[in-house]
Symmetry: C2
Subunit: 188 residues, 2 copies
């Protein structure tokens, strides 16, 4: 079974990312191809990068890094659920990514972004070079949610039919990529 | 044998891209893992996008598109040799990419960029979301050549030892990725 980690990037109290992330996790569980884990960066509460050594060395000195490392290590694929801040990426996501190195290598990632008119897509664009540097594959299939406030009520996200369909396409592709990349991961 | 296409993006008369591209092609031929082709966009002389149908349909009406399609189709991996114009990508490369769709899918690409202080890397960053949208894999290993003018004399590019070594690392990784992606290409 492929382990999928749904990373909820926003740590803001009241964030839309929580209901969106729960929707992604439920959709992925219903998909049937995945064992689903939710990695909520608010819960994980990683401080601003405080490891003295380059992550490539894996000489982690903090308990929070060991916890995060184990979580990312056992995932085969990711969905990053992310907002867009000031037309750019979320610092929380960049910070979390920066803690690790080998744990990310050769794993596919799909993006579910949300925002105003942009659907958070400028944040996704900005993340492309970052995840590619880690030899991850940012797949083009994803979900963008413009005008997120219209989709969340009482802590529940309600997707459009197009968003629901896009999420399935994304999950199918994550599975395909994950299988193809297994051979590369054997040498990490 | 893996067919590697070295795409020379710049079409400017006097471009540094030509000697850099020749160096990449020679290095790749010496590497031993590749059958090397050079795709010189100046020679190919693609006009500004003039195909009426979406490339996904492959209903090409122009001879130049058929020629370009065949060339990209038979390549298993790419090196894009690209300058940076106004801190952005080369229009010639974007234009050439936009002609095709299926021909690009699930193939890895390494970047050899050149420029002033930046080594052309801002152009590479800008290309990341574009090639990822085509399900290509922009590998992190590449070559950046700052202050290109100091490296070209009499039409010959002379790399630093670091650049020469980086090119080998890039080629090794292109080969690894190409092998891993074959399974995905079977369903294109």
């Amino acid at each position: 079974m492929t382990t999928l980690s749904v990373v909820i990037a926003s740590t803001r109290p009241g964030r839309a990312g929580l209901p969106v992330g729960h929707w992604v996790a439920e959709t992925a569980a219903a998909h049937g191809g995945f064992e689903v884990e939710v990695a909520d960066l608010a819960e994980l509460a990683l401080p601003m990068m405080d490891e003295p050594q380059h992550p490539r060395l894996e000489q982690y000195v903090h308990e929070h890094t060991h916890r995060w490392s184990a979580l990312v290590d056992r995932a085969d694929a990711f969905v990053f659920v992310t907002p867009e801040y000031n037309h750019g990426p979320a610092a929380s996501l960049l910070n979390a990514i920066s803690y690790l190195y080998r744990e990310w290598l050769h794993k596919p990632v799909g993006f579910v972004s949300y925002g105003g008119a942009s659907g958070g897509l400028r944040s996704v664009q900005a993340m492309h070079p970052v995840v590619s540097r880690l030899s991850m594959v940012p797949i083009p299939e994803g979900v963008a949610i413009p005008y997120i406030k219209r989709h969340v009520a009482d802590g529940v996200f309600t997707p459009s039919s197009a968003q629901q369909e896009s999420s399935t396409v994304m999950l199918d592709q994550l599975l395909r990529w994950q299988e193809a990349l297994v051979s590369l991961r054997q040498h990490n």
